[in-house]
Amino acid sequence: MADGVKPRVKAPKKAAVGEVVTIKCLISHSMESGQRKDKDGNKIPRSIINRFTCEFNGNSVIDVVMEPAISTNPYFQFDATVPEAGEFKFTWYDDDGSVYEDSKKVAIG
């Protein structure tokens, strides 16, 4: 598992039924592109988060295939519809097999 990888998500705690809410997600990750070279001129191998998904109560909101051109500390902002009370699940998949997760509960109100 890559070191110090931490998610940071902004999601509302409450929403009306059917409301569209804005979600902001950041995760601290170096996103080593595979283009950089070390001091001896050898290419530093690629090691990125290659996929990000957001689900609500098991239904897909967004599924992002990520390439090395996504900046360090990948950030996404998108809109989601909240049909009922429940939980957002955020998942990041690392090249090295690690999976990072975060979740945010939403109440109706």
């Binding site: 110090g4 931490k6 940071r8 998500v9 360090t72 950030y75």
Partner: protein, 281 residues
């Protein structure tokens, strides 16, 4: 085509491009107003009328990144430092919280007055020096590297507790000698390029130096998340880079020169709000 015509057209083209919105106001999270432009402090009034935060010199997109703590990539490090604050470290079995309790209470206003005089130690202390003094002497823990990621994160955590408060460093009394030294450094030309801080940041803020849009070189926003290296940067790190860019042998972070310079440069921003962690180029 005459040179004048070409330059005029080039100037016009450049003017229409949104390099920066120097009239924008910064409000964080919809409710925290940040002073990014104000009258210059008395000690500076013969050189500048107004002082401006580096935020004003950045592009619209970069400015926007600071308006919401969930858009600001520097805040991820603040989360990490908040955890470190509560983590026991060192021989004495303490965490920062053991003595200081809740950071949001005990550290309010602290960042705004640093660097400052420490009576007991008989020296001017920067925030980094004080953090390490606590770590080594109160916690029996290892000092953070002066410009390390851990130090930058902790400085950012402390900055957040003073965010929106006016920078207010003392320049008289026991710090006066250090302040004078810092001021002298600020106006001294260094390096093969023979440039002083003032040449760019006092005489030419708002202009372009090649592809960079020059700011006033204020440090109210430090530590700064720089887009170019995607991490938080401390003041001395930036000073080191600036002096190196004049093609001089640069000074050591944590050394006497940069401590004096930090005190002086901080005082040039007296009146601007503590803004860190900021987002810069």
């Amino acid at each position: 085509m005459k040179l004048k015509t070409i330059t005029a057209i080039a100037a016009a083209l450049f003017a229409t491009t949104a390099i920066a919105d120097e009239d924008a106001e910064l409000v964080i999270n919809g409710d925290l107003e940040i002073v990014t432009k104000t009258a210059a402090p008395a000690h500076l009034s013969d050189a500048l009328d107004e002082i401006m935060s580096g935020w004003r010199f950045r592009s619209d997109g970069t400015q926007a990144m600071q308006m919401d703590d969930f858009d600001n990539p520097g805040m991820a490090a603040v989360d990490g430092a908040a955890e470190a604050w509560a983590t026991v470290e060192g021989e004495k079995g303490k965490s920062c919280a053991s003595c200081h309790g809740d950071v949001a209470e005990s550290m309010v206003g602290v960042r705004a007055v640093y660097p400052k005089w420490n009576e007991k130690a008989g020296e001017v202390r920067t925030l980094a020096m004080q953090i390490n003094d606590c770590r080594e002497n109160q916690m029996g823990a290892k000092a953070y590297g002066y410009t390390s990621g851990d130090m930058a994160a902790m400085e950012a955590l402390l900055s957040v507790q003073s965010r929106g408060m006016p920078v207010n460093v003392a320049i008289d009394g026991p710090v006066a000698a250090t302040w004078e030294k810092g001021k002298e450094l600020y106006y001294t030309r260094f390096g093969q390029l023979d440039l002083s801080c003032a040449n760019c940041h006092e005489d030419n803020y708002g202009n372009m130096i090649r592809a960079d849009h020059l700011s006033q070189g204020q440090i109210n926003g430090f530590p700064a998340y720089r887009l170019k290296n995607t991490k938080l940067n401390t003041v001395h790190d930036r000073f080191k880079g600036c002096v190196r860019d004049t093609r001089a042998e640069t000074f050591k972070p944590g050394g006497a020169e940069f401590i004096a310079l930090e005190l002086y440069v901080a005082s040039r921003g007296n009146g601007l709000s503590v803004e860190g962690p900021s987002v810069r180029n």
